[in-house]
């Protein structure tokens, strides 16, 4: 028998050349492919650069080294590296009759011995005619001609291997294989690989005699080895690549593997069904692979199998086919992932995909890499590799949709959990960071998006990222641009606070979570010592530790300072309390304040607490004056309800004068008296222009109710006295400037109650029928106020005033010290703990002074202008 199965076990230690021997064998010059050279030498560089003995190279390592891999793979997998001098082998081969060769290959592949090369016939399942018949004369003639023949034989075989084989192989790809012609492409790969393999086996056989050993230039030369080692290299050499369009070959290979995959899938699906239904029920459309009428999937799979074996044996798998396998399979994976998951964020798909991998991909892989019995470790590694690839593909798909997924959080939790698993397997962090940053920037950070939406998205983003990565590194890497952006939107604090103090909603929920409690919880589910991982080195250290903070802390930290945030809260609270039609229940505000106190500490919110107390005290006071039994003011015509405030604790009220109608000022006086009577030594200073008034006006028997500001009510009061007013007169009567009057009277003109009869003269409309918006049905709940109408000084204005206070001090400092840097001025001002002012704010303030020429700036120092 000339079969490989009866060869001795593949003892590789015996069959290997040491590196030193190799070097001795191939003392090679550095050769370029460009120059036509002795073919032997041309390919020597491939050999030269073998990093070590191949058996030391793990399969994975092999697949990475590019040009060496085919050879290395082959040398591991084939028996031919057995020392040809080994007597037993030699004798056996020599004793074989050439005619019996082909039949001997029919014997089954020798799985047991681990021999990878199969009988030629196995590759020749389709008709292939060896391009030339080998005449291993060396085996027949034992005469004097022996060595001459041997050399001739050697020449012949080497010439074939080096010159003919590539042509034979590549020619299969050169005929016009159109893209849609799947089958012909498939066939091309099949033919190329199997025919080459067949020829290759024959050639090797020809070389496998003793005569393949010659003295070449005084050196021992093993042509057999040389061919084994170099065929893949020769095929893949750049010279060969010049002959064919490698990109096209790649395409063809893609088609080949795609076809194989499809066919395989159809078979697998069927094999799950009953045998009968497989035969009867299959639609032809389902089996797109088969262009013919009858399904040839089984056939295709078997050809596919053969072709892959051939490629494997030729050592072309890693170099030529491997990348295509990966390309095809990633494409299939992407497709699969898209089909399974796109838009479906509420469910986890990872099991489904893993199933698919197990059912569809791995069996296919087994066919593509028919080396299962070499070592299960290899195939196990390969399985791992592909499941990693799937995770990567899936992870990337999730990342692609990350923005939408974040918006849908927490419904999208399942898919985020998947992402977490994917990130565990594949290094996706940088992709996630970059893609999401980009998506956020593009879709969120532009003027068209409302602050509310930005904030919601930010919250979701933080929560979703924390969900994916509890350590917070992702939050730290991704969110800073959003934070920076929010910081520069003016209404952000207000929006944060509004949503924070709403009755429901994410932030309100977050607020009601006791911070100390959640901290404790975090500590409990914290990592134990052996789970701890150091931070990745490429993560920037932040001043504020975003990673350990919760959502509210993260939001507050946008502003860098609690105090600024609290100031803004106070303004918001004041605004709310003042907009109440009268001092009423404030349970919600109290609850909210209590929650904020847990977070920010009592002392920081002291002023707010007093404000709320003022409201409830006022409520009690009003009840006492009007509603209690024997109440002093119970019989008054005009009910003035007061909100008595502790001015030191409220934002500053704007000063604005307003003359009240006598009836109202009388009522104010009585209220004050009543107040003084119960609160010894205290009196009231009314803010005439602040408050809410409900009036009813009636013309032609149609009563209309309005809720408006005191100044609007006063204007209307004057119209009840006289129908027409010159604006100067009216302004004087109201005690306001003409400009203010013009502003305030707009409320009435817009309602069709008053009209400007002639420039500067206003007249009461004769009938109110034309009232736009039908305000008698639904008087607007609150007086419509523009920001200018609002009685409180805004926080930013307030802060500016505070800074102004220190201007004289700054001036004095600079008079004495001539020039100071920003930081020094800031540290001086910081000592006034009552003024919270960031360096930026101070700088802005000082720069303004510079622009007003009150200050000069040079060399990083501020000084007074000379």
């Amino acid at each position: 028998m000339f079969g490989y199965d009866n060869l001795p076990r593949n003892d590789r230690s015996q069959g290997k050349f040491t590196k030193a021997e190799k070097e001795k064998l191939f003392v090679s010059p550095i050769v370029s492919d460009e120059i036509e050279m002795d073919p032997f030498l041309t390919f020597l560089p491939f050999v030269e650069s073998v990093p070590g003995t191949p058996e030391n190279v793990t399969p994975r390592a092999r697949s990475r080294s590019s040009k060496l891999s085919p050879k290395a793979a082959l040398s591991i997998c084939t028996p031919f590296q057995l020392d040809p001098l080994e007597p037993k082998v030699r004798t056996t081969r020599r004793g074989r009759a050439p005619s019996s060769r082909s039949s001997s290959f029919v014997s089954s592949p020798t799985s047991e011995s681990g021999v990878k090369f199969r009988p030629a016939a196995e590759y020749a399942a389709i008709e292939t005619t060896p391009s030339r018949l080998l005449t291993p004369r060396s085996a027949q003639d034992d005469g004097d001609n022996d060595s001459k023949h041997a050399i001739q034989n050697l020449e012949e075989n080497l010439t074939w291997a080096i010159q003919t084989a590539p042509g034979l192989f590549w020619s299969k790809f050169s005929s016009g294989l159109k893209e849609n012609d799947e089958w012909r492409r498939f066939d091309a790969v099949y033919r190329a690989s199997t025919s080459l393999a067949t020829e290759f086996v024959l050639t090797l056989e020809g070389l496998s005699s003793t005569t393949s050993q010659v003295n070449f230039c005084g050196q021992h030369f093993d042509a057999f080895r040389f061919v084994c080692d170099n065929v893949p290299g020769i095929l893949m050499s750049t010279r060969a690549q010049k002959v064919v369009d490698l990109a096209k070959v790649e395409e063809i290979f893609d088609t080949f593997y795609t076809c194989g995959f499809k066919a395989m899938n159809i078979i697998r699906e069927d094999s799950l069904d009953e045998e009968n239904s497989r035969l009867n029920n299959r639609d032809l459309e389902e089996c797109e692979t088969c262009s013919e009428g009858a399904c040839v999937c089984w056939k295709i799979v078997s050809l596919f199998q053969q072709a892959n074996r051939a490629l494997q044996d030729l050592g072309l798998m890693e170099e030529l086919a491997g990348p295509r396998v990966y390309a095809v399979i990633s494409k299939e994976m992407s497709q699969r992932v898209d089909e399974t998951c796109s838009g479906k964020y509420e469910t986890s798909h990872i099991d489904e995909l893993a199933d698919w991998l197990k059912q569809k991909v791995l069996p296919w892989i087994e066919i593509v890499y028919p080396d299962t019995n070499l070592a299960s470790q290899v195939s196990l590694n390969r399985h791992d590799e592909f499941s990693r690839l799937l995770m990567e593909v899936y992870g990337k798909a999730i990342i692609h949709d990350m923005f939408s997924i974040i918006i849908e959080f927490p419904d999208s939790q399942p898919i985020l959990e998947d992402l977490r698993m994917c990130m565990h397997q594949a290094n996706l962090r940088d992709i996630l960071v970059n893609k999401l940053k980009w998506a956020l920037e593009r879709r969120l950070l532009n003027a068209g998006v409302s602050t509310n939406s930005v904030l919601d998205a930010y919250c979701n983003c933080v929560k979703a990222l924390k969900f994916v990565d509890a350590s917070g590194i992702l939050v730290q890497l991704i969110t800073p641009p959003v934070r920076e952006y929010l910081k520069h939107r003016e209404e952000t604090v207000r929006v944060i606070l509004v949503s924070l103090t709403e009755e429901s909603g994410d932030l309100a929920e977050e607020l009601s979570r006791n911070p100390s409690h959640s901290e404790r919880k975090a500590r409990l589910c914290g990592l134990t010592w052996n789970e701890w991982k150091p931070d990745p080195i490429d993560v920037p250290r932040d001043k504020f530790n975003l990673r350990k903070s919760d959502l509210i802390q993260a939001l507050v930290s946008i502003y860098g300072s609690k105090t600024l945030f609290i100031d803004e809260y106070r303004a918001l609270l004041a605004d709310r309390l003042l907009r109440m039609p009268k001092p009423g229940p404030i349970t919600r505000e109290i609850k909210c304040l209590e929650l904020l106190k847990l977070r920010f500490g009592d002392s920081n919110l002291q002023k707010c607490e007093v404000m709320l107390k003022d409201v409830s005290d006022s409520q009690r006071l009003n009840t006492r004056f009007y509603d209690d039994e024997g109440a002093i003011l119970a019989d008054e015509d005009v009910r003035v309800t007061g909100l008595v405030v502790s001015a030191q604790f409220w934002p500053t009220f704007k000063q604005e004068s307003l003359n009240l109608p006598p009836v109202v000022s009388n009522a104010f006086e009585k209220y004050t008296k009543a107040f003084e009577a119960i609160k010894g030594n205290r009196t009231l200073e009314w803010q005439n222009h602040v408050g809410t008034v409900e009036i009813e006006i009636e013309n032609d028997g149609v009563p209309l109710s309005f809720i408006c500001t005191p100044s609007q009510a006063v204007i209307m009061y004057h119209f009840s006295q006289e129908d027409a007013w010159k604006e100067e007169k009216l302004a004087e009567a109201c005690g306001m400037s003409v400009a203010t009057l013009q502003n305030r009277i707009g409320f009435w003109t817009s309602k069709g109650i008053v009209s400007e009869a002639s420039p500067g003269t206003y007249r009461l409309c004769s009938s109110f029928v034309d009232v736009s918006g039908g305000s008698q049905q639904s008087p607007s709940k609150y007086a419509e106020e523009s920001e200018a109408d609002f009685p409180l000084t805004s926080t930013s204005k307030q802060r500016e005033n505070d800074l102004q206070t220190f201007w004289s001090y700054i001036e004095a400092m600079l008079t004495n010290l001539e020039s100071l840097p920003l930081s020094r001025i800031h540290s001086m001002l910081k000592l006034f703990a009552t003024v919270e002012c960031s360096v930026e704010a101070l700088q802005k303030f000082l720069d303004e002074k510079v622009s007003q020429n009150c200050l000069a700036y040079s060399g990083g120092q501020y000084q007074l202008p000379k």
Binding site: V640, R682, Q687, V693, E696
Partner: protein
């Protein structure tokens, strides 16, 4: 045209009827509270001396406790609480 006020809700700032706007001892506004209090008004009242100077009650008590002579920290006259309120 008939004009009727159904309700008039306004804001008033309460003030102590004092001859100064801040306490001479803690130098905080009377309408605020002394350094140890959190809530102004009833909880941190003012007291008047016969010399007519007034202080946060808590402040003057600390002053008197720290001195051997019970004198007004403003005018250094003997300190006595004014009995009848203005």
């Amino acid at each position: 045209m008939k004009f009727k006020i159904k309700s008039w809700n306004s804001v008033a700032i309460w003030k102590w009827l004092a001859n100064d706007d801040k306490c001479g001892i803690c130098r905080a506004p009377f309408d605020g509270c002394c350094s140890d209090c959190k809530i102004p008004g009833d909880d941190c009242p003012l007291v008047w001396g016969v010399c007519s100077h007034c202080f946060h009650m808590h402040c003057i008590m600390k002053w008197l406790a720290a001195q051997q002579n019970q004198i007004c920290p403003m005018c250094r006259q003997d300190w006595a609480l004014k009995s009848d309120l203005p």
